[in-house]
């Protein structure tokens, strides 16, 4: 008996549609988040992450509707992030069927949001989503960024992660902006540092390119592994990742 390591596909959604090309076999509509979510559920995904990248807040209602449709059909945990600014935003997402809500930029601007949301809804549903890049200005060598890695937040990433956990974040979605898109493997140095600093689950994100990339992230201390494009384009399957992890005696579902 033991807890299985989680493998999680991430879907970027704009105005209720999946963006970034998705090339998943046998889908009638590859841009439909619900259809993709269903396919991933059947393919062995342990959870799903929806990242709402809509620039306009008028698209938020569309996102809620998408979450409702997904939650009505897919009975695995759903995390939704992107544009969450207030406890009311968290409440609306949870009531629409999200199980966990990712807080990123708004948390950096207003750390009390994390405290208040975790007090109201429980730390198990508040995920600190943090986009990290290397910086010589930061004491730990890593800084937290905003706007998808384009702007510095001025905060040391490790210090921010520790503060967010103290404020009640129950999980860290740790996205390495340096590794993101490189397909050269997860950011082992970053995962190792964060693992040493906090005792909440870590979802490692950014850099997955091939099945062999996943196990080193587990060794570094990740409790869950997230990837987007390699799954969407069918370069590797969730089953292949789990089989590789299994060969290293990592427990998977």
């Amino acid at each position: 008996m033991s807890l299985a390591l989680r493998v999680i596909p991430c879907l970027d959604v704009d105005n209720g549609r999946v963006v970034k090309g998705v090339n998943f076999a046998n889908l009638r509509d590859a841009g439909d988040p619900v259809e993709l979510a269903r396919a991933y559920g059947q393919a062995g995904a342990d959870e799903l992450v929806f990242l709402d990248i809509s620039a306009s807040s008028s698209n938020r209602e569309t996102t809620l509707e998408m979450v409702r449709r997904a939650a009505d059909e897919i009975f695995i945990p759903l995390t939704v992030g992107g544009g969450v600014r207030t406890p009311e935003d968290v409440d609306r997402l949870l009531r629409s069927g999200a199980d966990k809500v990712g807080i990123n930029t708004a948390g950096l601007a207003n750390p009390d949001l994390i405290s208040e949301a975790s007090r109201r809804f429980g730390n198990q549903c508040i995920v600190l989503s943090v986009d990290v890049r290397r910086s010589t200005d930061a004491a730990s060598g890593f800084e937290a960024t905003t706007h998808g890695g384009r702007q510095s937040s001025g905060r040391d990433a490790l210090e921010w992660i520790v503060e967010a956990v103290e404020r009640g974040a129950g999980e860290i979605l740790l996205n390495s902006m340096d590794a993101d898109g490189t397909k050269a493997g997860f950011d082992i140095e970053l995962i190792t540092k964060v693992r040493a600093a906090v005792n909440v689950p870590i979802i490692a994100s950014g850099g997955a390119g091939k099945v062999e990339d996943f196990y080193p992230a587990v060794q570094a201390g990740a409790n869950a592994l997230l990837a987007a494009s390699v799954f969407h384009f069918g370069q590797i399957t969730i089953a292949e990742v789990k089989s590789e992890l299994s060969s290293h005696n990592v427990v998977v579902r």
């Binding site: 009975f75 999200a98 809804f121 005792n199």
Partner: protein, 214 residues
């Protein structure tokens, strides 16, 4: 048609539980209405977040009375996650928080204390296996399946022994660096520490097993 009420006494995702139960062919209402909760064929007591906050919400809808009356009449109740924890005597969660909210007393359907797990990484979050008794109705057809857990506190010691005319409840265990109670079947009162509504096809089958008893 069999009808199930999900007791609405706080915030959180009740939609998944509603849809998952509907998929078993019952009609489901999410409400805090006392009479509706009393009279439904089955009552689900959900619960996420802090124990004390849940108890405050639960008390505000006269939850304990609802449970007592239903169980006295042999009517089914299913507690999920914190909805299971509040069936025990108390929680030690106040020792780890600011202590302002002192609602750490449960409704004592079973003796036991809900305590913080000792694991290195908390919450216990993800899919875990369980060990259930052979006679279990809840886990019929679900041997070797995994269920989705997300919690930091749990009941690690089960002290209730069979006595006189009472049959001992069936207790299902799981392990995350230590053993703790994953589920209990006790006549009309069932409860799970994990989330069947988030546990894929295995979770839906478990809910079907419960609905079949209604």
């Amino acid at each position: 048609m069999t009808d199930v009420v999900i007791l609405d006494y706080g915030s959180g995702n009740l939609r998944s539980a509603q849809r998952a139960l509907e998929s078993t062919g019952v009609s489901v209402t999410v409400t805090s209405d006392f009479e509706a909760a009393l009279n439904a064929d089955g009552l689900v007591v959900p619960g996420v977040g802090a124990f004390s906050a849940c108890m405050t919400g639960f008390n505000s809808v006269r939850g304990a009375q609802i449970i007592e009356r239903r169980l006295a009449g042999g009517k089914a109740v299913l507690g999920i996650c914190v909805g299971m924890q509040i069936m025990f005597d108390s929680s030690t969660e106040h020792l780890d928080t600011d202590g302002e909210q002192a609602n750490w007393t449960g409704i004592s359907q079973w003796p036991g204390v809900v305590e913080k797990l000792q694991a290195k990484v908390l919450p216990h979050m993800g899919w875990n296996t369980v060990t259930s008794p052979e006679q279990s109705l809840m886990f019929a057809g679900l041997e070797n399946e995994r269920f989705y857990f997300v919690h930091t506190y749990a009941v690690t010691r089960w002290t209730l022994k069979p006595e006189g005319a009472f049959r001992a409840p069936l207790v299902t265990w799981t392990n995350y660096e230590q053993d703790f109670v994953a589920a209990v079947e006790n006549g009309p009162l069932w409860a799970t520490q994990f989330h069947p509504e988030k546990s894929g096809p295995a979770g839906l089958r478990l809910l079907q097993n419960w609905v079949d008893t209604l």
